[in-house]
């Protein structure tokens, strides 16, 4: 089932949690709502589920207005951040709940319910724990029970709020892979909320990056990482050096030296973003290169991190070199070097150097 979010706004008292957000989720897609806390991502998910009523805008399931439909008629599978399992019921009864509360006419017979719940418990790999109470399970097991419970009503849409937030790193990775497989096998349309960019990148078909109640960019993980649409997305996804610069005649200058192109931008103050792994460091001068001094070299695993001191703002940049490249002639602290950006992105700066949104993104136009 496809989900269409059309110009949704949500206001709590005098706080505007969501500003006119639009988003299309195609049938069978797995979309991540990614953003820092307070960006409105959970509120948006709750609006889609029907747990919150939008102040304006509409939600369409398969092109049909869902806002007027009550939560219990939406048939949405929802997994809460803290699972919200019924504490006083066994695992089996938790999963059977959605089937047992059906009106008598649609309610399956007890044997059918039993067969279905057992199958679901096996599917989420907690088959042997049917008689336990949620408090007797580990975090990962509770998570899976919550999922089984949500799947029992055969939803076509699955919504997950920070599904792996409360789990430790190892369990998280396993569950992530498992969830992706489940989504594909069951042909679900899923939306999940996360603040963990790695999780969003690894799991989702498309990522919607949210900030302060707006969607800043929607795109595939590679798209949003390689071509961030706004300064916020640049800084939120992965590391980036933030370099205040001047824009003159379509070029960006750092302390008087031209270091990258900045086409189509008006002259004035700008902010350039460069990923640490998009920087070349050499001992001799190159075109567009800028002199610097090595401050520190940290070798961590496959990557060598080099900190360079600059004479101009911001005074320091971080470079990540593949360890192999660093191997032959290692840089040492105090060494004079030159660096240049292989690729960089320049945004015009608002007053005081704070980046303004480069382009007002219309999410529906971005695929």
């Amino acid at each position: 089932m496809s989900i269409e979010v059309r110009g949704v706004e949500k206001v709590f008292g005098n706080f505007r949690a969501i500003h006119g957000v639009s988003l299309n989720v195609r049938e069978g897609e797995l979309v991540a709502l990614l953003g820092p806390s307070g960006s409105g991502k959970t509120t948006l998910l709750r609006v889609i589920a029907g747990l919150e009523f939008p102040t304006a805008g509409s939600i369409l399931f398969d092109g049909e207005d869902a806002v007027t439909r009550h939560v219990r008629e939406r048939k949405v599978g929802f997994v809460f951040q803290h699972y919200a399992l019924f504490k006083h019921m066994t695992v089996f009864n938790n999963v059977a709940f959605g089937l047992r509360v059906k009106p008598r006419a649609d309610r399956p017979a007890p044997e059918e319910i039993k067969a279905k719940v057992d199958a679901l418990l096996d599917l989420v790999q907690v088959g042997q724990f049917g008689n336990r109470y949620p408090s007797q399970l580990s975090g990962g097991q509770r998570q899976r029970v919550a999922l089984a419970r949500a799947l029992a009503i055969e939803p076509r849409v699955l919504l997950l709020d920070e599904p792996f937030g409360a789990l430790d790193a190892k369990v998280r990775k396993e569950l992530r892979r498992w969830l992706r497989g489940l989504h594909d096998r069951m042909g679900l349309t899923s939306v999940f909320v996360t603040h963990d960019q790695e999780e969003a990148m690894e799991l989702a078909d498309r990522v919607a990056v949210m900030n302060r109640g707006r969607i800043e960019q929607v795109g595939s993980p590679t798209e949003v990482y390689d071509t961030p649409a706004t300064p916020f997305v640049y800084e939120f996804l992965g590391n980036a050096n933030r370099l205040p610069c001047r824009i003159e005649k379509g070029r960006a200058l750092l302390g008087g030296t031209v270091f990258t192109e900045a086409e189509k931008l008006v002259d004035g103050a700008g902010i350039a973003f460069v990923r640490p792994h998009d920087i070349e460091v050499t001992t001799e001068r190159l075109t567009l290169s800028i002199p610097a001094v090595v401050r520190q070299v940290l070798v961590a695993g496959a990557v060598a991190k080099i900190e360079l001191s600059l004479e101009v703002e911001p005074g320091m940049i971080e470079v990540a070199l593949p360890r192999g490249a660093h191997w032959g002639a290692p840089f040492t602290a105090g060494q004079k070097v030159h660096w240049r950006a292989r690729t960089a992105r320049v945004f015009p700066a608002a007053d005081g150097g704070a980046p303004a949104a480069a382009v007002e993104v219309e999410p529906t136009t971005l695929k």
């Binding site: 809460f80 919200a84 019924f86 709940f97 509360v101 009503i153």
Partner: protein
């Protein structure tokens, strides 16, 4: 496991949170002495005094018509007041814990009012309202509705003083539990009543039970408020506590202590019921507390 090691041999380094044995025993003995002096001894005295003139006198005292009428009246008052406050407490706690609305803190304060107001004043309020000289009293008397010096007055006074018990027990628990489980139930297709009976109520049933037991104990034992509105008409408007006082004032000590022992017995029965339920459903209780 960590829990079994201290019983083998607790190294002194681990004893940071334990006190020397002398202190421990001293504290326990102190607590026990206090309980003996203020709880067990008075109860024993009540029983001893009641039985001083023999078992025959005891049974005579508790089967006397006026006593039976008092017992009946007390049970009726409790039987009306407790369900009323059960319903009120549940709805108030539900409203306070699950919704945001204007005047919420005022409502919480008002629920506590009967705790801070003297019961005598509670009784006076109703006398001033419904009494012969009261605001609506004359009109009621004209229409042959008797509230003061009758059963309705006693019930009203009892409801007033037992008002906070159920609500007070439920509000913190329900606030703590939040609305996640109710939302989950709604998403799974449950209707309002199904959510209430299958999710909300089971989650609070123990707190509800404690609240009801406390409410009941107070309803049966209330003296001050009831004393003001009852008028002390023997066999008609005397509840057990009032009856005990009258017997005592008439120097019928054995009889007054016999009735007192009966009232104490009712309290003990409620406590035993509570313990039995806890023992029977203990494991379920433990799961309810864990998240």
């Amino acid at each position: 496991m960590a829990m079994t090691t201290p019983t083998l041999q607790a190294p002194p380094a681990l004893a940071t949170t334990t006190e020397p044995p002398a202190v421990r025993r001293g504290l326990i003995a102190g607590a026990l002495a206090f309980i003996a002096l203020f709880l067990v001894m008075p109860l024993a005295v009540v029983l001893a005094e009641a039985l001083r003139r023999g078992v025959g006198t005891y049974f005579e005292a508790i089967t006397e018509p006026y006593t039976l009428a008092a017992v009946k009246l007390t049970l009726i008052a409790a039987a009306v007041a407790v369900p009323l406050n059960l319903v009120f407490g549940l709805t108030a706690a539900w409203a306070i814990a699950k919704f945001e609305f204007r005047g919420k803190s005022l409502l919480i304060t008002l629920i506590d009012l009967p705790f801070s107001v003297s019961p005598v004043i509670a009784g006076l309020i109703y006398t001033l309202m419904f009494g012969a000289q009261g605001w609506v009293g004359p009109w009621l008397i004209e229409h042959d509705v008797r509230i003061i010096f009758a059963l309705p007055g006693i019930v009203l006074a009892t409801v007033f003083v037992t008002f906070p018990f159920v609500a007070r027990e439920l509000i913190p628990l329900m606030q703590d539990q939040g609305t996640d489980e109710e939302e989950a139930a709604a998403l799974l297709g449950a209707s309002g009543w199904q959510i209430f009976f299958r999710v909300t109520l089971p989650n609070v049933k123990w707190a509800l039970l404690y609240g009801v037991l406390l409410c009941n104990a107070r309803a049966m034992g209330e003296f001050g408020a009831v004393a003001v509105v009852s008028g002390h008409i023997r066999g008609v408007t005397n509840t057990m506590p009032l009856h005990i006082e009258i017997l005592y004032n008439e120097y019928k000590f054995a009889a007054s202590f016999a009735v007192a022992s009966l009232l104490a017995l009712l309290a003990v029965v409620t406590l035993v019921a509570k313990v039995l339920l806890e023992w029977r459903f203990g494991h379920e209780l433990a799961h309810n507390r864990g998240r």
